[in-house]
């Protein structure tokens, strides 16, 4: 590994390489799950609950079973024979264990919950028959809000738990209570994100093939973490893991929605095996909106003890998350991270948190790009509130509380250590670029003309690439390691694979650059093979912004190990005592001495040929072949940082927010592929803006989802999103390969905070503070009306 991680030391990492994936995707020759067909395939369609919470008193499938094309209709009872119950019971303090069957047995928990599965010869016929299944319900009262869910006599989502509060965790430093009591001034702030959904443009879907001869299941599915998915699927089907292959084709976006094994997928696989016929399923958009996975819906309250200058001397966080009706993940996992990293770039030694996660009669939650999205809004929103209450400039309050860049590594009150970040530089650089000095004057001038302009700033310290040590320390189950192999074939061709799976992030391109860097070849000559669990090594998959550092980093380490072996062979072939002065560049062995580089006769192909076909010419004791498999467990946490600046004008009559400028200063370390990293940042910022300004999964009081159609759930289009300017102030991480860091989620964190703070700043004359999302024109008009 390069010791200094100095950017200039890398030849291939950090360059723009036009994406290798593009040709097939641009010409209509991508291969997504639903493009795959298998001879003899059957089609699945699910019968879903039309009640938010109800007992299933009777289920009549007679008429549906007789409908044209129907092969079978299966219910909870059938599936309990073929599948095991999922039990999520990690030994975590404050978290209740929970169980889930393939289909609910006697009651449905949300509008869109599963009841039965119809298998027919054609998708249209399966849908027809599903409509003929008669379900008799005994409606139960639904609990649809997080506060209602915590009330003593609230209806229970899961009777087994005896409570709707599935997780409750807290922490406090020694003196925080004393400090809060003694404080002259406490500033209280609240923040609420709306319920959202991931909305990959490709919905979920899968094709399961059972090979009766070899007793083997092949599952084609768009999934971010194929190996962990295989483990769970095999377990729940009572198969050995070697009997299951997961094949992930092109994936039309995931954003966290395509990680877990969902019940539909389990059922499709179980039916393929039972019927000994291939079964396919494509989720329609309404199912995706109603019943796939939701996210966010957090409520947070901070209480900050401050001195008269705005210095924070103690901070308390109360956080509640509405997790919906089912848990495909340990329920504490998302909210917990928010609480752990809240204080981020600020020097806050005394801190306490109390985090509750509750179940309600809504679709279950899962991690969505930046599960900890609300963090930076809470923190920088709190700072803005302090500034407002004390009538100070918000930048001044930031500067006063922010750790100096020289203070890193710094350990937060929660024990989390941040290193190699520069929030101070990012803030100052952004202030200068956006001309903050003159902004306040412009703002005042505009106000006299009735134009309400505001600026929002949000500093982000983004937790990325969670290592195994973090999971252990945070009480979250999971491993953070990743695995990769790199092989040079006898022909000299280079292939590589890793356990992560791309859902659009361009891994084929970025990982080629990682191999090129490690091995010394042209990235164009590297083939990346991902997504097939029989080919790829067992890895933990793509989540938590770990693709580059864990995935690409491990690929790089494996490639570097291959190079080492290749050079040892080269030294022998060239009659040298050691490989010290040899390197490989663009596939050719070079000899460098006295600052000069000289090409030798030898190429990587020559070395590969020797390694495979002439092993007796290898150095003594060396294994034939030229391939290496490596596993790598990244540091507990690899922190990136950024500072977001959003300038808005709010039309106070209509409540419409116009983003006039958006600028972000980023430090995500050294990168593999510049263009791809920028693409990720643009995508993340856009998702955050769309989420905070427009998106809202709406349930009415009785628990009916009002946003089952894409036309009812507002997602930002090209007309609403601004042009985003990106400035880089990167510093490499000292411990990761190539100095890489993650970065695909911080954009969500920062944009949520920046736009919210900007609108509050614009509406300061009306004393309107944004404390909930979405910041829709309607909600703004209501707030403005109240302020009069």
């Amino acid at each position: 590994m390069n010791q200094t991680n100095d950017k200039t030391a890398f030849l291939n990492a950090g360059k723009t390489l036009l994406r290798k994936e593009d040709r097939r995707l641009l010409t209509g020759h991508g291969r997504f799950t639903d493009d795959i067909h298998v001879v003899g395939e059957l089609h699945a369609c699910f019968v879903r609950s039309t009640y938010p919470h109800a007992k299933i008193s009777a289920l009549n499938t007679a008429e549906a079973s007789a409908a044209p094309g129907v092969i079978t209709i299966v219910t909870a009872e059938d599936l309990s024979e073929w599948t095991t119950t999922l039990r999520l019971a990690p030994p975590i303090e404050g978290l209740l264990p929970i169980e889930m069957t393939a289909l609910p047995k006697d009651k449905v928990r949300f509008y869109g919950d599963l009841i039965a599965c119809v298998i027919a010869t054609d998708r249209y016929l399966a849908e027809d028959a599903a409509e003929l299944v008669i379900v008799e319900y005994e409606p139960l009262e639904a609990v649809t809000g997080m506060f209602a869910a915590m009330e003593e006599d609230a209806p229970l989502v899961d009777e087994e738990l005896g409570s709707n509060m599935i997780s409750h965790q807290s922490f406090e430093t020694k003196s925080i209570q004393k400090i809060m009591k003694a404080a002259d001034r406490i500033v209280e702030s609240t923040f609420a994100t709306a319920r959202q959904t991931h909305l990959p443009i490709e919905t979920r879907g899968c094709i399961a093939e059972w090979d009766e001869g070899s007793q083997h299941l092949t599952m084609h599915i768009g999934n971010q973490a194929p190996h962990p998915f295989r483990s769970v699927l095999a377990g729940r089907l009572k198969l050995r893991e070697s009997q299951v292959t997961i094949v992930v084709p092109d994936v039309g976006g995931g954003f966290g929605q395509k990680i877990a094994l969902y019940r539909e997928e389990l059922i499709v696989a179980a039916l393929a095996r039972h019927l000994k016929r291939p079964v396919r399923w494509r989720e329609d958009r309404m199912e995706n909106m109603l019943a796939s996975s939701h996210a966010r819906e957090d409520f947070a309250r901070t209480r900050a003890a401050v001195d008269s200058n705005g210095r924070i001397i103690g901070l308390m966080l109360e956080l509640i998350e509405d997790f919906g009706a089912y848990c495909f993940y340990p329920a504490n996992y998302l909210a917990r991270v928010v609480a752990m990293i809240l204080t981020g770039p600020y020097d806050i030694g005394e801190y306490a948190y109390d985090v509750k996660v509750v179940l309600t009669n809504k679709c279950g939650n899962g991690p969505m790009r930046a599960p900890m999205a609300i963090t930076s809004w809470i923190m920088d929103g709190t700072i803005d509130n302090i500034a407002r209450e004390l009538e100070l400039d918000p930048v001044q309050v930031r500067r006063l509380n922010m750790l100096a860049d020289s203070a890193y590594p710094h350990t937060m009150a929660t024990g989390e250590t941040m290193e190699d970040i520069n929030p101070g530089t990012a803030l100052e650089k952004g202030l200068e670029s956006i001309d903050y000095k003159n902004f306040r004057k412009r703002q005042l001038d505009d106000r006299t003309r009735g134009v309400y302009r505001g600026i929002g700033i949000c500093s982000v310290v983004e937790s990325t690439t969670y290592g195994s040590k973090f999971y252990k320390a945070a009480g979250i189950p999971g491993s953070g390691h990743e695995c990769a192999w790199v092989k040079v074939d006898p022909s000299g061709e280079v292939r590589a694979s890793a356990g992560v799976m791309s859902t659009g992030q361009g891994y084929e391109t970025a990982f080629s650059q990682a191999v090129a860097e490690g091995l010394g070849v042209d990235p164009k000559d590297v083939a990346i093979k991902l997504g097939n669990t029989d080919v790829a090594p067992y890895g933990m998959g793509s989540r938590g912004a770990r693709g580059a550092t864990a995935g690409g980093g491990t690929v790089y380490l494996a490639a570097a190990a291959v190079r080492e072996k290749a050079l040892a062979i080269a030294a022998k072939l060239l009659g040298l005592n050691s490989a010290d002065h040899l390197s490989i560049q663009e596939g050719r062995v070079c000899w460098f001495f006295d600052g000069k580089i000289q090409e030798t006769e030898l190429t990587l192909s020559d070395i590969a040929r020797t390694a495979y076909l002439d092993p007796t010419s290898l150095p003594d004791g060396m294994e034939p072949g030229l391939e290496v498999t490596k596993a790598y467990d990244p540091p507990p946490m690899t922190y990136s940082n950024s500072c977001h600046f959003c300038e808005v004008v709010v039309e106070v009559n209509s409540g419409i927010v116009k983003i006039e400028r958006y600028l972000v200063v980023e430090n995500c370390g050294n990168v593999l592929s510049t263009q791809i990293v920028e693409g990720q940042q643009l995508g993340a910022i856009s998702m955050g803006l769309s989420g905070s300004m427009f998106e809202h999964m709406i349930y009415d009081e009785s628990g009916y989802n009002q946003t089952g159609l894409l036309s009812e759930y507002m997602m930002a289009t090209a007309s609403e999103l601004p042009e985003i300017e990106i400035i880089s102030v990167a510093t490499p991480n000292r411990r990761t390969p190539i100095g890489l860091k993650g970065m695909a989620e911080g954009g969500v964190m920062g944009s949520i905070g920046a736009v919210s703070n900007a609108v509050s700043d614009a509406l300061a004359p009306f004393s309107v503070v944004i404390d909930s999302h979405p910041i829709s024109p309607l909600s703004l008009r209501q707030k403005l009306r109240k302020s009069h």
Binding site: L18, R19, E21, D22, R23, R24, L25, L26, T27, G28, H29, G30, R31, F32, D34, D35, H37, R123, Y124, H198, L199, P200, I201, E202, T203, D250, V251, G252, G253, F255, R282, D284, R285, T503, G504, Q505, G506, Q675, I676, E678, G679, L682, G683, I685, S686, M687, L709, L710, S711, M715, T717, A718, S719, L721, E723, I724
Partner: protein, 166 residues
């Protein structure tokens, strides 16, 4: 429901299909004709991923029954690059500007924008964004798509100049 046989003209080629009259054009193009570049993202006319050109006009193939497109010429993403596989200018610019990530929305966007640029060769950024607003993309934030369209226009102007100077 009984099936009906009819002929569809897709990318200049005639296809004989035998399908139920209720079958959507998107499904017939994908499943019966086997051109899977046309993607289905919502099936209710909102996302734009299924956009094809019918008689040169962008249409959502999930809102049309295949039988309704009988006798009309349909063009899909597979026909945008030329027979040698060379990109159209717009495809080339999307590639260079990183205008796609997962690529699921891309076919619909390419066809929508190809048609848009034909009818409006010199649009402003606002007009481009407006024209693009019927296509949802969850990955890119649209910025690089807009850039690619702008570069396509610039390239067109350069070519015009070259022709004029001949």
């Amino acid at each position: 429901m009984s099936k009906t046989a009819f002929r569809l003209n897709v990318n200049g080629q005639d296809y004989e299909v035998l399908v139920e009259p209720r079958k959507l054009l998107s499904d017939v193009i994908r499943d019966d004709i086997g051109l899977t570049g046309t993607h289905v993202g919502c099936e209710h006319g909102v996302c734009g991923a299924c956009t094809v050109l019918i008689e040169g006009k962008p249409q959502r193939s999930c809102l049309v029954f295949a039988i309704q497109a009988r006798g009309q010429s349909i063009r899909t993403i597979e026909d945008v690059a030329d027979e040698n596989g060379d990109y159209s200018t717009l495809q080339q610019m999307l590639h260079e500007e990183h205008g796609l990530q997962c690529g699921f929305c891309t076919p619909g966007i390419v066809l929508t924008m190809e048609a848009f640029l034909k009818s409006n060769p010199d649009p402003s950024e606002e007009e481009i964004r407006e024209a693009l607003s019927g296509n949802l993309c969850r990955c890119t934030g649209y910025q690089n798509i807009v850039k690619a369209v702008q570069k396509t226009i610039l390239r067109g102007h350069e070519e015009d100049k070259e022709i004029a100077s001949l």
